[in-house]
């Protein structure tokens, strides 16, 4: 059975190779090849899952050693896979949601002449992400990690003819590199201190390692997680990444990429358990990001960017939970899975809306679409209810547990973290309701003659090319797009209850991550009730603002905070002033030092060597008598020196 593990990675990898090397001949069937191979990966995953369920909880871990990559004494790098409950969860999520997105893309990318290439990249993305979660050591994980970075770069910049897409891809890649440095340094530290980077030995060795070393590794891992999972301070790439085709956004936000950071932290749980300071840093990052993303999500008029803010915020929840230690790991993963369902559904829904609206992304030019797109409306609506934590739906179960766990952290920290998480829930309800109302309810603003709005910062170039010239005719999307949305909607509705009731998910994951029941300072019921209460408040506020009043087509100027939030809370301005300007100053001064000092020394040495050479060369005057004198002198010195050596 364990021999099947490699096939999980190989199937999509094969797809990528075939599609990218196959050339034009495969244009007609390329999307089917890609989809079938992604689905094959899911089927293999399901078989392995069934097999795993048949075993006892402690015997479920499977390993497959493929080959020794670098077999050097003292440096053992293996290509080996490890499939346990944690990896299994990710495998099913990645290949399952990934396959649905493949199906959806068949319809969505129908008119794109580079569709075959797109599917090749999608397959590559899946393969890299599966490699990441299946690796049994940090080095192989790093290979997958970089593969994810590459695939995301290719996909975000898929419409590279748009300068904004090319820039966004570059930005995502560069910001991710910062995080990648963290991971590579962490791996080097592990090798330096433990002599290995395989999960088993490293995580066992944490017991007898000093807290300082664990904190160092933990902080580096956190940096890595911040990059891939778009957490503050490396969050800036996520919003721009919306330049990619919408299925890519769905894939990045739901199944792959941003979940990698959460996986890394949960997988390295033993390291963080031994380093409370690093854990605290993780929770702080999570808490800050969940507010940051939520606030940004409130201000965006671009439907995809609003959802991107939402993702940032939801991943913040997961990171926060992962930072809580054993009381949070399981819930981090549980929220990750449920979020995978409803966020994928929401993005696919957004894509469906755009599909019907001539690729318009500005929600101020939507309105009243529920009549025209019933399936999209219902599936998007169910995803909406799930994400705001409507009782009974997926998000309710997973988010509620995280808020409980945050309170259960104890002490002032617990109150602060719990409060932030609760506040985040309210804001989530607010901005998601806003999206919902602006898109599907209210008057049909797209019927107004569309006017250019230069003041609007988030108008897309694509919107300008399509939206300005013709009034859109909203229509429901083809079934290849709606069916995945329906499937995901089922997940959004039922997954949470399935996992949460009877602690099923806890029992499933506990052997890998460990689990401790937290004891919140107030009763769990109180937490649940307050969660529901803040959710209702958020929805109510949004309704008062966007449901009862008409939505202006041109965005009002807004308060200072709104304007800041529209600019992603000035993240790019901050990066520009601090990092870009600072970097420029640093490079300029380094160039100065290089020119004057380094080049001075180098050129000076070269010049002096040349001068010396020229002078010594004159000794070679061509006269045999001079040469003989030189030899005679040399011999005399040689003899004298030899005698002198004996004398001293």
């Amino acid at each position: 059975m364990e021999n099947l593990i490699a096939l999980l990675v190989v199937a999509p990898l094969l797809g990528a190779a075939v599609l990218l090397c196959g050339g034009r001949r495969l244009d007609a069937v390329g999307h089917w090849i890609g989809t079938v191979l992604a689905a094959a990966s899911f089927v293999i995953g399901a078989i392995l899952f069934a097999d795993m369920l048949g075993k006892g909880a402690e015997e479920r871990e499977m390993t497959q050693h493929l080959f020794s990559w670098v077999p050097v004494e003292g440096f053992q790098a293996d290509v080996a896979f490890q499939l346990d409950q944690l990896s299994m969860t990710f495998v099913l999520l990645i290949s399952g949601v990934g396959s649905l997105i493949h199906v959806y893309s068949i319809g969505y990318m129908e008119h794109d002449e580079r569709r075959r290439r797109f599917f090749g990249y999608l397959n590559l993305f899946l393969a890299a992400m599966l490699l990441l979660v299946l690796a049994d050591n940090y080095l192989l994980l790093y290979v997958g990690w970089e593969g994810v970075g590459l695939a995301s770069y290719l996909l975000i910049g898929f419409w590279q003819h748009k300068p904004s897409a090319a820039t966004a891809a570059k930005k995502a890649f560069l910001v991710n590199r910062v995080g990648d440095m963290g991971l590579s340094i962490a791996i080097m530290l592990m090798f330096a201190w433990f002599g290995t980077f395989a999960f088993g030995p490293v995580l066992e060795a944490t017991g007898e390692t000093s807290e300082g070393k664990l904190t160092a590794i933990g902080l580096m891992l956190l940096l890595a997680a911040c990059g891939k999972s778009a957490q503050v301070p490396l969050q800036s790439w996520l919003g721009d990444a919306m330049e990619g085709p919408t299925p890519v956004s769905a894939l990045i936000h739901a199944a792959t990429m941003v979940t990698a950071g959460v996986y890394l932290i949960v997988r390295s749980g033993a390291i963080f358990n031994g380093a409370p300071d690093a854990q605290l840093a993780v929770t702080v990052v999570g808490a800050v990001t969940l507010l940051f993303g939520a606030i940004v999500g409130c201000a965006k008029d671009d439907i995809k960017k609003a959802l991107a803010g939402s993702t940032m915020s939801q991943i913040g929840y997961m990171i926060l939970a992962a930072g809580l230690g054993p009381i949070g790991y399981v819930f981090a993963i549980m929220h990750l899975v449920t979020h995978g369902f409803f966020k994928a559904g929401l993005f696919l829904g957004a894509g469906s809306v755009m599909h019907g609206m001539n690729d318009e992304v500005d929600m101020r030019k939507y309105g009243g679409l529920r009549k025209y797109m019933p399936v999209t409306f219902v599936t998007f609506g169910l995803g909406y209810l799930a994400i705001i934590g409507f009782p009974g739906l997926s998000g309710f179960f997973s988010k509620d547990k995280i808020i409980e766990a945050a309170f259960a952290k104890g002490g002032t920290e617990g109150w602060i973290l719990g409060g932030v998480a609760l506040l985040g829930a309210a804001i989530t309800a607010y901005y998601m309701t806003r999206v919902m109302l602006m898109t599907f309810f209210g008057e049909e603003r797209w019927r107004h003659a569309p006017t250019p709005s230069p003041a609007e910062p988030s108008v897309e170039p694509a919107a300008e090319t399509h939206g300005e010239h013709a009034e859109p005719h909203p229509h429901e999307s083809p079934s290849s797009m709606t069916i995945p949305m329906i499937v995901l909607a089922f997940g959004s509705v039922f997954a949470g209850a399935f996992f949460g009731i009877g602690d099923r998910f806890i029992h499933w994951l506990e052997p890998v991550t460990g689990h401790a029941h937290g004891h919140p300072p107030v009763s769990a019921l109180t937490v649940t009730l307050s969660t529901v209460a803040v959710m209702v408040i958020g929805v109510g506020l949004a309704y008062a603002q966007y449901g009862r009043r008409p939505v202006p087509v041109v965005a009002p100027r807004g308060s200072l905070l709104t304007r800041a939030a529209r600019r992603d809370l000035l993240q790019d301005d901050f990066n520009h002033v601090v990092l870009v300007r600072g970097g420029e100053h640093l490079t300029r001064s380094l160039v100065y030092v290089d020119h004057t000092l380094v080049d001075g020394v180098v050129n000076g040495t070269a010049a002096s060597m040349g001068g010396l050479s020229g002078r010594l060369r004159r000794l070679q005057n061509g006269f045999a008598r001079s040469y003989a004198v030189s030899m005679f002198g040399g011999a005399a010195v040689l003899i004298a020196a030899t005698l002198l050596m004996r004398a001293v």
Partner: protein, 549 residues
């Protein structure tokens, strides 16, 4: 005279003869040297008896066959264990047959074989009066520019004597690193030096320069030989013997039957130290170490290029072989005395060669200074005084000699109206015009510079490692600095070839016969194989690196 008296004379004469032991000569173990010397003598006979038109073919055939046979003999001896288990001293103590001797003899023979190929090249020079000509003067004895010279050229004469001369030189070189007493050492030195002096003088073009080079080489070589001979005399005076083994015993005081005369001189260390220093100086002259290097650039530049290539490779191999044996077999007891001095020599040689090479404008002189710097690098391995030191020097010599022959062979290809275009400015843009030749030369230059994946890197790494392990860290530091300096002028030539605009009236690259092509191709292959997979050859040198005492 009566029959009885006659009989008694007969018996009287016979009696003592019975008692003299005939010298025991192990012909089998000496066969490589004997084959080459024998072939050289036959070559002289060919000059005397074979018609002029056929001499060239007879000489080339004889040289190639004899060198190949001698090489086969070396291989046969090595595979039968004469390099390791059966190593011994033969010819009444005069010659050693051991690992280093066989390894170096094999290297010299291969280098000699490639040398014959380049000597025999006849397609590079334009056809003169209907005769294909080689790099050598039509008639070496004719005065340059005289009528007799013109007549000789017109008659299609060629100096086929170069082949027996080459064979004599190779014979001497084979003996040189194997010599096991001081007299044999000196004889071998002269046997290979004298033909080389002559070979330097017989260039077809720039004859005055060639003859000047030969005279300089001869004068300075004789001067150095005088030092060597005087050193030998002093050592004999000190130890009462010319045998390496006996001198070594006297030096470390382990000799058993001390005669009164010997006891008197044994105490006189001045004899020993001065003698050793002078002897070593003679060998340093041959390897071209600073300050005994002054002849090198002039001679390398003036000599016919095939001779330069052969000389640069094989002389260095033979001379370093002899130096190794001298220092490791005869004078190990003195290593505290000679090591610091050799340190200094190695350092000034590495730096001197590398620094002066920077401002050279002639490719042959550039390679000459490069060979001086390389002599310094090899010295760094010599002074390691360890088994690793021996094997690394053996490896370096093998690697270096094929790069050198190949590089000089490429130099013969780049020509203009005046013969070889050796001025560097004429090499500008060669990579555009003849990418293959320029690329091959670049490979050799990179090997000289010691860039990884070439034999130069493996060799340099081996000697520096041996030197560092022998406690000569300072040498390694200087060696690496010199390598960096040297890299400058090697890379500069590459830049010149590939990144400069070709000159309109630049040189042409002649298409050589398969002979030169073989020599160059062999050089490239050895350079790359030793660079990519050096381990087998390092092991081989390691096995060979034990001197018999």
């Amino acid at each position: 005279m009566s029959a009885v008296a006659v009989h008694s004379l007969w018996t009287m004469a016979a009696d003592p003869i019975d008692k003299i032991d005939a010298p025991k000569i192990e012909y089998g173990q000496l066969s490589p040297t004997l084959i080459v010397i024998g072939a050289a003598i036959i070559g002289v006979l060919i000059e005397a008896f074979v018609p002029r038109k056929s001499r060239y073919y007879a000489q080339v055939f004889l040289s190639i066959v004899s060198l190949a046979a001698a090489f086969a003999a070396v291989i046969a001896l090595a595979t039968r264990g004469y390099g390791t288990t059966k190593a011994g001293i033969v010819a009444m103590g005069a010659i050693a047959v051991d690992g280093p001797a066989l390894f170096l003899q094999g290297t010299i023979l291969l280098a000699g074989l490639l040398g014959v190929f380049t000597f025999a090249e006849r397609r590079l020079d334009p056809v003169a009066h209907g005769n294909q000509v080689d790099s050598f003067a039509a008639q070496a004895a004719s005065v340059p520019g005289s009528d007799s010279e013109k007549a000789a050229v017109k008659a299609g004469f060629t100096t086929t004597e170069v082949f027996p001369l080459l064979l004599f030189a190779i014979g001497g070189m084979l003996l040189f690193p194997a010599a096991n007493d001081l007299l044999t050492l000196f004889i071998a030195l002269e046997v290979f030096s004298l033909p080389l002096y002559l070979l330097c003088a017989v260039a077809r073009r720039k004859r005055i320069m060639s003859q000047e080079a030969a005279v300089k080489y001869f004068l300075l070589g004789a001067f150095a030989s005088a030092f060597t001979l005087f050193g030998i005399a002093l050592l004999y005076g000190y130890a009462g013997s010319v045998s390496y083994a006996t001198i070594a015993q006297v030096v470390d005081g382990s000799i058993e039957n001390v005669t009164p005369a010997l006891a008197e001189t044994m105490g006189n260390d001045a004899l020993l130290l001065i003698g050793a220093a002078m002897l070593v100086m003679g060998l340093l002259f041959k390897v071209g170490a600073v300050p005994f290097h002054m002849w090198t650039p002039d001679v390398y530049q003036g000599a016919p290029t095939p001779v330069t290539g052969f000389m640069a490779a094989a002389t260095k191999v033979a001379a370093f072989g002899a130096l190794l044996r001298l220092l490791y077999v005869v004078l190990p007891g003195l290593s505290w005395d000679w090591r610091p001095v050799m340190w200094a020599v190695a350092i000034v040689t590495m730096l001197g060669g590398a620094i002066v090479a920077i401002t050279q404008t002639d490719i042959k002189r550039l390679l000459a200074y490069s060979s001086i710097a390389h002599a310094g690098f090899i010295l760094a391995g010599v002074i390691a005084t360890s088994a690793d030191g021996i094997s690394s020097v053996l490896f370096y010599l093998g690697a270096y000699s094929f790069v050198t022959i190949g590089a000089f062979a490429v130099v013969t290809l780049v020509r203009d109206a005046g013969g070889e275009a050796t001025h560097l400015s004429k090499w500008a843009g060669l990579g555009r015009r003849s990418p293959l030749v320029a690329a091959v030369f670049a490979v050799f230059l990179l090997a000289f510079a010691g860039i990884p994946l070439t034999s130069g890197f493996a060799g340099k790494f081996a000697v520096f490692k041996a030197a560092a392990e022998g406690g000569a860290g300072a040498i390694v530091v200087v060696g690496v600095i010199s390598s960096a300096i040297a890299a400058f002028f090697y890379i500069r030539v590459i830049v010149l070839m590939f990144f400069s605009e070709p000159k309109p009236e630049g040189p042409t690259v002649a298409v050589p016969s398969p002979l030169t092509m073989t020599a160059i191709a062999f050089g490239v292959v050895v350079t790359l194989v030793l660079g990519v997979a050096p381990q087998y050859f390092l092991d081989l040198a390691g096995q060979a690196g034990v001197f018999v005492r």
